[in-house]
């Protein structure tokens, strides 16, 4: 890694000074590489992304078409994870469901994080009444335990996959707002922000160019962990019949189907659950690793 082997007086045109931001990212990847668990989590996520993209080419069965004569067949060489009550291949449905799961996880978090980060940064930067109003609103959202808020939102918007994404996004907004507000408050006090302001930079420029890049670490950590939560919540809503609708191969909905066949075909509920555990576990492991690498204060 590029060690600063020249002092400032001898920097020539060829030897550009090191960009501190690039250095800190390099440092981060170095730390992350040392964290074996995080690497494993990351590799699994990459694998899941590949599966989500290549899914349709990986199996010979159709996710929505089944052989009714072959319904509820246990796992076999033909059907690795068995078949469901319509005779559809469960392995194929899980593979095809991967992109739905990742789509829900990534999009709900991107949506929730974007809104949450903006609100948090505005609250932290401007302070005063703006801060009070935004943060009290966030307190109201946080007053709904667990997935209850998402449930309330879906009850209003109606049951569908996109509404689940919106609901899960809204329920993750306050988490991001709180974290970013806290980080903004501490960054705002630093001298360099005063210096930039004295140079005449606008608030928008200060926020996006100078504060945002310095509060990214906690955002990345929280976003990774939130994808895990989002996948769990969204599959829970689908399990309740409020998310993805049949015949979508969504894992929560598949589990819900499997519920009716626990006595004679337990594999119908078993495998979609394992798939959810695998994805959530990978994001949780990566999130833990990122936290250790990016946020030394939280490391034990």
């Amino acid at each position: 890694m590029g060690e600063p082997n020249v002092d400032n007086n001898t920097v020539t045109q060829e030897q550009k000074p090191l960009n501190p931001r690039v250095e800190s990212w390099k440092n981060f990847f170095k730390k992350l590489r040392k964290n074996k668990a995080a690497m494993v989590g990351g590799i699994f996520i990459l694998f899941f992304i590949v599966v989500a993209i290549a899914g349709p080419f990986l199996t010979t069965y159709e996710p929505d078409k089944g052989e009714i004569v072959n319904k509820l067949a246990p796992p076999s060489a033909d059907h690795w994870f068995g078949t469901d009550h319509h005779g559809r291949d469960i392995f194929t449905r899980i593979i095809h469901g991967m992109h739905l799961t990742l789509y829900i996880g990534f999009f709900s978090v991107i949506l929730g994080a974007t809104v949450g980060v903006l609100l948090g940064i505005i609250a932290g930067y401007y302070g005063g009444r703006t801060d009070t109003i935004i943060m009290r609103l966030m307190d109201v959202l946080l007053a709904f335990p667990g997935i209850l808020l998402a449930l309330a939102i879906v009850s209003v918007l109606g049951a569908s996959l996109n509404n689940v994404i919106i609901a899960v996004a809204i329920f993750s907004v306050p988490v991001f707002a709180r974290i970013v507000r806290g980080s903004t408050l501490s960054v705002k006090k630093l001298e360099y922000v005063d210096a930039i302001r004295a140079l005449g930079a606008s608030d928008t420029r200060i926020i996006f160019k100078h504060i945002l890049p310095n509060v990214t670490s906690p955002i990345i950590v929280q976003a990774t962990l939130n994808i895990a939560t989002a996948v769990l919540s969204a599959s829970g809503l689908s399990f309740l019949g409020l998310g993805a609708q049949p015949p979508m191969p969504e894992w929560g909905a598949m589990l819900s189907d499997g519920r009716n066949y626990l006595y004679n075909a337990p594999h119908v509920a078993f495998f979609p659950g394992i798939a959810i555990v695998a994805v959530v576990l990978a994001f949780n492991i990566l999130g833990d690793g990122l936290r250790d690498a990016l946020d030394p204060k939280m490391k034990n």
Binding site: D139, G158, G236
Partner: protein
Amino acid sequence: MFKFIVRRVLQTIPVLIGVSILVFSLMHLVPGNPAQIMAGESAPKEQVENIEERLGLNDPLPVQYWNYISNAVQGDLGSSIRSGRDVTTEISGRFWVTVELAVYSTILSVFMGLIAGIVSATKQYTFTDVIIMIIALFGLSMPNFWLGLMLIQWFAIGTDLPSWVPFFDDTAWFKPSGWGSFEQIVLPVITLGTAGAAIVARMTRSSMLEVVGQDYIRTARAKGVKERVVIYRHALKNALIPVVTVVGLQFGTLLGGTVLTETVFAINGMGKLIIDSIQARDFPIVQGTILVVALLFVLVNLLVDITYRFLNKRIDLD
């Protein structure tokens, strides 16, 4: 301390007002005419008008909100569209079931989580520590509705055991549904409490490790105090303070989690009531139940904050 409690209670009021506005708005955020949706697409006009009249949907919004909130304060949350019964009556029959489920699960998660966390911290980087933390990570990553189904599969439907196993012929030890008897309570409580146990275990471990690294613990050890006394009398006491907050937050998460657990185990609590009412488009019940659960959560958070402060104060005095 008294000042703190008063201030904290006062801070709760705007949150409660916000919660009530949000819950009240639910019905009005529905795309289309809420009365039509509740009555059903093909319902006759008179029925729709009847619902509009009953719910006062023709009044201006601020008037509607004021009526809703002033009735709610007096314990009147309206009446169910489906059954016509009071929402308060519908909820009161199920309130304690959900609270019991959440309380038992919290007790289980604190008990299991503390033991696992302490063992893990005292045996840091050993095989035991690694195994406990891996199990905790799995506990955290498991959808509780799936765990519930698997527990039903293994311990309610059960499998036959080989003849050499004493006392039991099979593993159908518990009941797959309902609430009340011991056989009905065990599986839902494990289902709901597992993720909480994992979170408490992780928090206890990191909190213990932080405390164990501090000077006063080193001093205690240097003085020759027994390791057990160091851990349980000196370290744990301080390590538990952040854990209290997590437990409080957990209780709220568990309240939310009851929705899924109650659905899996067909328990007639508030969670299942919400789901049934969402499916039946019975908005007064949805609103009422969500309001009650949110109020309960706000109240628990208030108590947790006060307890946290109280514990910290004690330490200051020491």
